[in-house]
Symmetry: C2
Subunit: 243 residues, 2 copies
């Protein structure tokens, strides 16, 4: 048990959740090392949501609310870390939830579907088809889900997948702690923040935002500026660490 | 198979080795996420050995060569990533090799011993005793190994362990990609570099260094300066990424 007053409590709980999820078959080992990479970048962010990330989260809410059949794409790490937060965001935004795995197997699809349903998430079910411009099973998605959506939230996504979705003309929102990753650099909107901090902020904005505010955020959106701001925050924290 | 001309070939091979080692029981899931954290920091180092890390590696060689019964402490990640490099360094420095696991179990001890022996590493064997000022099995080490050594190389070490060894008056050398970690901040000498780049550099220095050069490196050693230099390299790389 991690003591609740540990200064890095949330981070350690997340780490433990990922390890447990590997043991229960929801997350693959590669997902655990990807989580570790995220942890390191979050450490450099000071493990808190920056002002630019807050703005990115509000903008994400605006895109989702304005979207046509928006979809939240959920992989193993997202399911393990944030099933409750995904349920709340789906409800607040009206987005559908589709499971999309990089290391896809029927067993994992079933384990993750069961885990999400147990948390009250409505999961799109049916047959996936090869509809993305990618090779092999990486191309799989649902015709009524990601394929039909014009706005897709893909937290913790792989670079190839992100590029494929952008190339299809979709508005792609990602949550990625590494502002230099290909996913971060390719997405329409990149939220450089930790998943369980980011999702509730998007949910709150979906509930509270006026359509006018949303339109303005979309009109003013500049992803390069958001990425620079995230890099700048990391630089500042490194500088402070040297004092 | 990862293509040899991939710009991040070494990093991807290491990632794959860790995932395989989890599946074979040498590395625990927590080791995979720790590896991911290291990968992220190495990314910020540009995945190359900095000038200050080169100096740290030479100084490590000097400490090992001057040490009394020096020991290299090997955990699951180190065994999975660098068994060959550990063998070569043990030969060049005359240091003994002791297995020391944070998540200790008899099965893992046996799997790692077998793996190292298959690579030609001479591993200290015998009964471990609770000799470190730590609780539970974290206190275990060998009386003729780490306990007797005045210089210990502990790559990828946990902060509590590192502190315990320092508190016993030992010269503690670590290899840690996060210059802000407790291990990095506590050790006598911190090499901020990737394990399989660092170890061969230490080995080479053990073979080539004159005693006079070694004495001078030890006399001039300033760990705070090394840590600052590593943070500075990361800052510069972040700045370059923003150009």
């Amino acid at each position: 048990m991690i003591p609740k007053d540990h200064p890095r409590y949330r981070s350690l709980v997340a780490r433990e959740r990922i390890a447990d999820a590997v043991r229960s078959g929801i997350v693959v080992v590669e997902g655990a090392s990807a989580h570790g990479r995220g942890e390191a970048f979050d450490y450099l962010l000071g493990e808190e949501t920056s002002a630019s990330a807050k703005r990115a989260e509000k903008t994400a809410a605006a895109f989702l609310m304005a979207g046509f059949r928006p979809v939240i794409s959920v992989n193993g790490n997202t399911a393990a870390l944030a099933a409750d937060e995904i349920r709340d965001l789906a409800e607040a935004s009206g987005a559908a939830v589709e499971i999309n795995l990089f290391h896809r197997s029927e067993d994992r699809m079933e384990a993750i579907t069961a885990h999400l349903k147990a948390k009250g998430v409505s999961v799109l079910e049916g047959t996936a088809e090869r509809l993305l411009p990618l090779s092999h099973d990486r191309a799989l998605c649902m015709r009524d889900g990601i394929y039909a959506a014009n706005v897709v939230l893909v937290p913790l996504e792989d670079g190839d997948r992100c590029e494929a979705l952008v190339s299809m003309g979709k508005t792609v929102i990602t949550i990625d702690l590494n502002p230099l990753s290909r996913t971060a650099q390719t997405a329409t909107l990149t939220i450089v923040d930790e998943l369980t901090r980011a999702l509730p902020n998007i949910t709150r904005a979906c509930r509270e935002m006026s359509p006018d505010t949303g339109e303005q955020l979309i009109a003013d959106h500049d992803n390069t500026r958001l990425l620079y701001a995230a890099l700048h925050t990391m630089q500042e924290n490194l500088t402070n660490a040297m004092d």
